[in-house]
Every structure is written in structure tokens, then in C-alpha cells.
């Protein structure tokens, strides 16, 4: 084979060689969606946490660790959402996997103080459910864009364009959310939820959150806490309380019986759902619509 022919073959194959997608493993359904939006065809995302599963109860299996060892980037929520993260990091250290932790790109808010006295769990003091603030998702979008560019510099323009397009969609979502919530009087902006996951949403839109459980779904409320919550729901005249897609709503149903509040529907608190709620934008629209319809 002549050198000239070899060069021509190399040039001809170059686009396919560079088009080999970045292999990404995601420990968050929200991060999976952001990665697909930013990465497009240049990124192949393996979902370690699947939509509809409870990430608070997840522990990596040997099969998961093997899968994670074979990728270039691991996406994690951080802020204590994955208590196993340090162990996982040391398990796959030798494979050279890059960890991108979204919590480092956002300004965290603190958990409600009472949660830390009510139970023991492995979370940090920060609320790890950062994705309920659209502004945080915009920040993480830029973080993933930069992480992908670092691994695949040839894809820079694609990643930049994809990130801009997704940011535009997020801006439309943010305005839509503001307009939807504007019909709710401030006095009715009270979210009684299964667990304390909507702190960022509450901060952005002036809600007060009254969770049955703490910051994790594994936190169990004391009977005294449930009694206090029932009294508070009555005294504030809360119209509706909300279940979550990964929870058994039995306790909430009992509270509705005692308080006279309605069961307002199901919120996606710990990640994406399926169907229309299978994307970040779809999930947020579903949550906002459910909240407005129940509290209006």
C-alpha cells in the first residue's frame, strides 16, 4: 500500500474515528437527560439509576462498578445524595474515570434544621436536590459542556451549540413556571410532601415546605412529628398534600383523612419519571401543573 493511499484512507476514516462517542455513566436520571441534551450524538449515556427508582436506597452492585469502570465520565449529583460516592470513586480509581459532581457547580442551600435532629443519615448539611431550581440546571448544563469538551475537544462547537439550545429551553421553562405559579396566592404556597426534596423550588418560588419525612426517603418520621404536622396543616388551612412517584402514599392518605386536605397528586422529587415526565423539562412541567391544580 502506497503512503499516499494510506493517508487518504486515514483522512477518509477520520470523521468516524473522532465520532466515537464519549462513554458516560450517570447516577442521576436528571443528569442523564442533561448529558443527552448537551452531548447529543457525541455522548453515549448509561443510566445506572433508572427513572422511577429510588436513588436514596440505591447501592452500586458489582455489575454497576464494572460498567462504571469502562466509561470515561461518571455523573453524580453530589451534596451527599450518593453516600457511596467516595467508596465508588476509590473502587474505579485505577480505570481513570473522571467524576463530574453537579453539586460543585451550584450554590447549595441547607437542609431544614429539624431534619438533622429527627434521624440519622449520611447526608451533608446541604440539600442535595439541586435540580428543583432551574437556575441550578443551567449551571450544571455549562459544567457538563466543559467536561465533554475536555474529553473530546473536537466536539467543542457541537457541545457549545447543544448547551446553548438547552439553556434556551430552560429559559422558556423558567418563564412558563413563573407564569403558572403567579395564579397561586402567597398564602397558599405550602407544599406538604412525602420527604424534604423541594427546598430549592420553594426558595425560588416563595413556597413553604412541610415534609413528612426528612431529606431522604429512608428517614422515618416520629409519631410526634406526624401529629405536629397534622396540627400545622389544619392551622394553615393547607388545601392539598402531595405524594411522590417512588413512594407509597399510604401515610399521606392517612394524613388527608385526619386533616381534610386533598391528596393533590404525584410529584417527581428524586428524579425523572416515565412518559411525559421522562425528561427534565417534562418533569418540571408535570410538577408545576400538579401543584397549581391542587392548590389553586
Amino acid at each position: 500500500m502506497s503512503p499516499l493511499f494510506s493517508v487518504l484512507i486515514f483522512i477518509g476514516l477520520a470523521p468516524w474515528v473522532s465520532a466515537e462517542p464519549i462513554k458516560v455513566a450517570s447516577l442521576s436520571t436528571v443528569l442523564s437527560d442533561i448529558a443527552r441534551n448537551v452531548g447529543g450524538d457525541r455522548v453515549e449515556v448509561s443510566e445506572i439509576i433508572k427513572p422511577g427508582s429510588d436513588p436514596h436506597l440505591y447501592e452500586p452492585t458489582p455489575g454497576d462498578i464494572k460498567k462504571i469502570s469502562s466509561v470515561q465520565i461518571v455523573l453524580a449529583s453530589g451534596l451527599g445524595f450518593e453516600p457511596y460516592l467516595d467508596k465508588l470513586r476509590s473502587s474505579v480509581e485505577k480505570s481513570g474515570v473522571e467524576f463530574v459532581v453537579a453539586g460543585s457547580a451550584v450554590k447549595p442551600i441547607a437542609c431544614a434544621e429539624e431534619d438533622h435532629h429527627d434521624h440519622s443519615h449520611s447526608h451533608d448539611a446541604a440539600d442535595p436536590h439541586w435540580w428543583h431550581s432551574i437556575a441550578n440546571v443551567e449551571a450544571v448544563t455549562l459544567q457538563l459542556r466543559d467536561a465533554f469538551i475536555a474529553v473530546d475537544p473536537d466536539g467543542r462547537s457541537d457541545f457549545q451549540a447543544n448547551a446553548r439550545a438547552f439553556e434556551d429551553k430552560l429559559k422558556v421553562l423558567a418563564k412558563w413556571t413563573r407564569l403558572q405559579l403567579a395564579v397561586l396566592p402567597k398564602s397558599q404556597r405550602i407544599l406538604v410532601t412525602s420527604h424534604d426534596a423541594l427546598g430549592y423550588f420553594a426558595r425560588d418560588y416563595g413556597f413553604q415546605v412541610l415534609p413528612v419525612q426528612g431529606i431522604s426517603t429512608s428517614d422515618q418520621p416520629s409519631s410526634q412529628k406526624v401529629r405536629n404536622l397534622i396540627q400545622e396543616i389544619k392551622s394553615l388551612g393547607v388545601k392539598a398534600i402531595f405524594a411522590e412517584n417512588i413512594e407509597n402514599p399510604k401515610v399521606l392518605q392517612q394524613i388527608t383523612v385526619e386533616t381534610g386536605a386533598n391528596l393533590g397528586g404525584t410529584l417527581y422529587a428524586d428524579g425523572l419519571g416515565i412518559g411525559d415526565a421522562g425528561t427534565y423539562i417534562g418533569m418540571m412541567r408535570s410538577n408545576v401543573t400538579t401543584i397549581v391544580e391542587a392548590l389553586q
Binding site: 418563564k175 407564569l179 403567579a182 396566592p185 402567597k186 413553604q208 412541610l210 405536629n228 400545622e232 394553615l236
Partner: protein
């Protein structure tokens, strides 16, 4: 125990009543102390003077929950309204502008004053129309 049976009964009732007072105080239903996050909002009402100013003539509209919507009857460059709302938690303002001559960077300025003091000054940008929510701090 000696004495008249009625007197003995009265003494017994008094004793039971006195003994029951602490039991009642301990076990009675008390209003629940609202959690720190659940303080009832103050009901003090104040007047918010809202001024909308458009960079070009537009149909302007303003609304808030529990307040009468205000709308310009024709194209104008400003609209002023006064809303009486809670001093601590005023409602969000929904502002709309539909520009008569669409242009690339038309601006809509929203200023909110309470007793002559500016508490919000925001500018929104659009081309054909603007519709958004302004939260008052």
C-alpha cells in the same frame, strides 16, 4: 371520717377538682406551636404603586392575584396602578406588553414603590411582546 355526708361529698369533690387541675393543664389540647418555617404572615396591608414604562408604544397590562387587572385602553408608553397587598408577602405581578411596532430590543421597565420608596426596578426585553412575572421582594 365523721361529719355530715353532704359535707363529706363537697370536700371530696373539691379534692378531686384540685387534683384534676394539673392533669387538665398537662393533657389539654393546646394550639400547636407553628414551626419556625410556618410563621403566619403579617396581615398588614400597604399600597404598592406600580409604574410600567415601555420604550415604544404598546398595549400594557398588569395583574396580580386578588387584585383588579389593569390594562391600557390603547397604545401607550406608560401605565400606573396602585395595588393594596400584604406588607410582608405581596403577590407576584404579571406584566404584559404588546408592542405596536415590533422591533428587536423593545424594553419594558417595571418600578414598584411603597410610600415613595423604590423597592423594585426591573427591565424586561422583547420584540413583539413581553409577558412575565415580577416578584416583589
Amino acid at each position: 371520717m365523721r361529719g355530715h355526708p353532704i359535707l363529706r361529698l363537697v370536700v371530696l369533690i373539691c379534692f378531686l377538682a384540685i387534683a384534676g387541675i394539673p392533669v387538665y393543664l398537662i393533657t389539654r389540647d393546646r394550639p400547636v406551636g407553628v414551626l419556625s418555617s410556618g410563621k403566619l404572615p403579617s396581615k398588614k396591608i400597604v399600597s404598592y404603586e406600580i409604574t410600567m414604562t415601555s420604550s415604544t408604544p404598546a398595549h400594557l397590562a398588569l395583574a396580580a392575584v386578588g387584585q383588579k387587572p389593569v390594562e391600557s385602553s390603547s397604545e401607550t408608553e406608560s401605565l400606573i396602578a396602585t395595588y393594596s397587598m400584604d406588607a410582608v408577602k405581596p403577590e407576584d405581578l404579571v406584566v404584559k406588553a404588546r408592542f405596536v411596532s415590533p422591533q428587536k430590543n423593545a424594553a419594558l421597565r417595571i418600578q414598584v414603590q411603597v410610600a415613595g420608596k423604590m423597592i423594585k426596578d426591573a427591565t424586561l426585553w422583547g420584540s413583539e411582546s413581553i409577558e412575565d412575572v415580577i416578584s416583589i421582594p
